[in-house]
Symmetry: none
Subunit: 143 residues, 2 copies
């Protein structure tokens, strides 16, 4: 399970250090994809395979599905971690997540989310506005 929040940077060569806590679970390589909410997702190979199989099975006769399939696979990338535990983030994904320099990396159960620090800050602020709803939801699941 991926847990916790980390600050990190992308360098001039578009490399990002994967937080050390996540590396063992990924085992040297991972799938980097476009996430919801203007962030990127890192999946383990196994989880990605499961998703990919489901998505590939969607009926290609439907135009919406075709677009979705194109979007999903076109914005997925197999990333191998280098000797320092870093992955390279390609331009199309950097653009999508507005990534320039400072990042926030968050464990979200079965995936890791990569955010531009600025985008995340804006998003969190917006979230705060509707925070009471949130707390109520948390209460439902608390023990």
């Amino acid at each position: 399970m991926f847990l916790g929040t980390y600050q990190n940077k992308i360098d001039d060569k578009n490399r990002m250090a994967v937080p050390a806590k996540f590396r063992d679970q990924l085992g040297g390589k991972c799938m980097l994809t476009k996430g919801f909410d203007e962030c990127l997702y890192i999946y383990t190979m196994e989880d990605f395979e499961v998703m990919a199989a489901k998505i590939a099975a969607l009926p290609q006769s439907d135009a919406d599905f075709r677009e979705f399939i194109r979007d999903f696979f076109g914005n997925s990338e197999l990333c191998e971690l280098d000797g320092q535990g870093r992955i390279k983030i390609p331009q199309n994904l950097r653009d999508y997540a507005h990534i320039t320099k400072d990042l926030v990396t968050t464990g979200a159960m079965n995936k890791v989310e990569i955010w531009s620090a600025e985008t995340k800050a804006d998003f969190d602020l917006a979230k705060k506005m509707k925070d009471s709803k949130f707390t109520d939801k948390l209460r439902e699941f608390s023990i």
Copy 2:
């Protein structure tokens, strides 16, 4: 069951000694999470698993649920107690609970609450103000 209230400190290396009374029940490690009311919770591994399993089952297609999952897992941390029975509190959780130096640690049945001493004092005062009799009496003498 976790019982009792303890004063303690966080040191310059962001470590907090878990009150000795709680250690046996935690068994060397615990889950540290964001709580309600600007405090942190310590759960046993077992209790956390129960909550996590429920939350993991939420549909990721719903934006609110995605935020919730991100918030919950991103602000959870597996903490191993060091040789002195201390855990490290990460920055995101310190920030959330306004933790700088002095802490109050309270057993709350199935979880342990960690408060910044100042935040707890403010919270207790605010609670006192809400006590109707007290407030009414205060009104008589207020100017």
